[in-house]
């Protein structure tokens, strides 16, 4: 059954998780994602699930570690400073290979920062954040519908690879309202989890969830296994969307809210004959480097548009590998770039090329 409804992004994170079979939510309030725990506190009892407002973010992520370790679909949500507090737990979860989902509805930083939207947690999400050689799969939705759909993907991916998955948004995505279709997933089968700590059964080996590897060879074996898994995810898990890149001279690379704003700016520039397209990474890790490399090989130049001082641009540059130019336009005062600002950055880029010619 599918239902059409107007939803806020934050409500969509919560309902999307429930539709994906998540029955355990642990969190601690922080703006601008408070609608998630609030919605969960009401909805979880209705579906026979568990909602706990933990005493801290550290506590919440460790409750996720426990519930995920016991095989449940579990999640937490927070916003930037709160997600910083969770990093130790995330590293433990990655080491113990516990599937779970972490939502970050990011706000301006550093420090306590502000309450307005930001994309400045990119590095934290894709480059570790916590300690050790680990990765999380990071999804970046750009609409309320995509939030719902990616919450499902997130839980499926987490179970498939036994890995923590982050869904990274910004405050505006959390607050904006759009029409969505709410559907029940047909293949909502949570896979068997023989590794889960669900109590001893005679004849079966003991399940242990642990992130401690004191013996050097034991630790190296874990890391080898993790790295092998990460290569598999890089091979199979990359997602992106392209719009008008084939004939484009300039490709805007943007995710989330920035991609939505860029789309309008691109349409405006296109109307004036500027050959510009949009490349929107949907997974930030694994990053769609291969495809960007192909586009660079084809001679396209790029501009990263971000609500940060320039973080994703580093991955764009790594992918482009010096073949063509990579420009940047960003706002990092907790504001989202306006359509006009991005449009002007596009026009300026073309004008500069004219001058160079």
């Amino acid at each position: 059954m599918a239902e059409r409804i107007m939803m806020k992004g934050n409500e969509a994170f919560a309902e999307g998780a429930i539709k994906a079979g998540c029955h355990f939510f642990f969190g601690y309030p922080i703006t601008p994602q408070n609608e998630i725990p609030e919605y969960m506190s009401r909805r979880m009892p209705e579906v026979g699930g568990t909602f706990i407002q933990a005493e801290s973010e550290v506590s919440a992520i460790n409750m996720v570690y426990g519930a995920g370790g016991a095989g449940a679909r579990a999640m937490t949500s927070s916003s930037s400073p709160g997600v910083s507090l969770k990093q130790e737990g995330i590293s433990y979860i990655a080491a113990a290979e516990v599937p779970c989902v972490i939502v970050n509805v990011a706000r301006g930083g550093p420090g306590l920062g502000g309450l307005t939207p930001s994309q400045a947690d990119y590095f934290q999400a894709v480059k570790g954040g916590g300690h050790g050689d680990y990765h999380m799969v990071v999804f970046a939705p750009a609409s309320v519908q995509e939030i719902i759909d990616l919450m499902y993907e997130a839980f499926v991916t987490a179970d498939k690879y036994r890995t923590p998955v982050m869904v990274l948004a910004d405050g505006l995505l959390g607050q904006m309202m759009e029409p969505v279709v709410l559907r029940d997933w047909e293949d909502l089968q949570i896979p068997e989890k023989p590794w889960a700590t669900t109590g001893m059964v005679s004849g079966k080996p003991q399940s242990v969830i642990n992130s401690l590897g004191l013996a050097p060879e034991e630790l190296e074996n874990l890391n080898l296994r993790l790295q092998k898994k990460y290569r598999t995810i890089e091979e199979n898990g990359v997602r992106y969307e392209e719009d008008g890149v084939e004939d484009a001279e300039l490709i805007i690379v943007a995710y989330g809210t920035s991609a939505r704003v860029s789309k309008s700016a691109i349409a405006k520039a296109r109307a004036e004959g500027k050959k510009v397209g949009l490349f929107r990474p949907i997974t930030l890790w694994p990053f769609p480097s291969k495809r960007l490399a192909e586009l660079a090989e084809a001679g396209k130049r790029f501009m990263a548009v971000e609500m940060s001082a320039g973080q994703m641009i580093e991955d764009v540059k790594l992918a482009v590998n010096g073949k063509t130019e990579v420009e940047f336009y960003g706002r990092y005062n907790g504001a989202i770039p306006s359509v006009t600002e991005v449009y002007q950055a596009i026009i300026k880029s073309f004008d500069n090329r004219e001058v160079q010619k």
Partner: protein
């Protein structure tokens, strides 16, 4: 009966702020001196204080948190709210209340003014929003809003829409819930709020008995509906 105090409430994302601002403009255009009280201490996004300059340009006084704290999510209300309520210079006072019962609770402290001076308390209802999708849900919400605010809701403002996917059929389907709710609770529908950009499409299907209230959406960035 025309009341000096109008309270605009409802669920999160029901359109309270858009309607409050439009209603303030509407009253100002009639020649009234209007004060708009932004009582949303729940959510720091999309609040009427963000549009204070434009409102001031139309002679509307906006009172919210003390200057300098507009972007904080602290539950602090300005003492100037009392000033606005007490000053007879303001012929119309509009309260833009935060969402859900948690937002309505902030009304409690102003209860003596409402009790003596009278008020109209309207709630926005969009049958396509979580929390007001059926009569049972909406009835529960209304009961909770009344308990939290210690006030009686006197009118329903319909805000039937599915954003950019709104059609006349969608609108009429939503009206069924709205009318059932109004009949069940004996609360009249005072307005049907319609976004200006959909007005031409919707007006032909809106029954004549309803007063249509057109609103230019001020809070919604245009790129959202691209």
């Amino acid at each position: 009966m025309e009341q000096r105090i109008t309270i605009i409430g409802g669920a999160y994302g029901s359109g309270k702020t858009e309607f409050s601002m439009a209603y303030a403009f509407h009253e100002a255009k009639k020649g009234y001196q209007v004060g708009l009280i932004d009582l949303d201490i729940v959510n720091p996004y999309f609040r009427s204080r963000d549009q204070a300059e434009e409102l001031a340009g139309h002679g509307i006084t906006v009172v919210s948190t003390e200057p300098g704290l507009e972007n904080a999510d602290i539950p602090a209300l300005s003492p100037r709210i009392y000033g606005l309520l007490q000053d007879p210079f303001y012929q119309r006072v509009v309260f833009d209340v935060g969402g859900d019962p948690v937002g309505a609770r902030a009304l409690g402290r102003f209860n003596p003014y409402f009790a003596t001076a009278g008020y109209q308390y309207w709630i926005l209802v969009n049958p396509y929003r979580p929390g007001t999708r059926n009569v049972q849900e909406a009835t529960e919400l209304i009961a909770k809003l009344q308990t939290a605010s210690r006030l009686r809701i006197t009118g329903i403002v319909g805000n039937i829409n599915l954003g950019r996917e709104t059609t006349p059929e969608i609108w009429l389907e939503g009206l069924v819930l709205l009318e059932t709710l109004s009949d069940t609770l004996k609360i009249p529908i005072v307005y049907q709020m319609v976004a200006s950009k959909y007005a031409a499409m919707l007006r032909p299907v809106i029954p004549e008995k309803y007063a249509v209230f057109e609103v230019d959406l001020r809070m919604r960035p245009a790129w959202l509906d691209m």
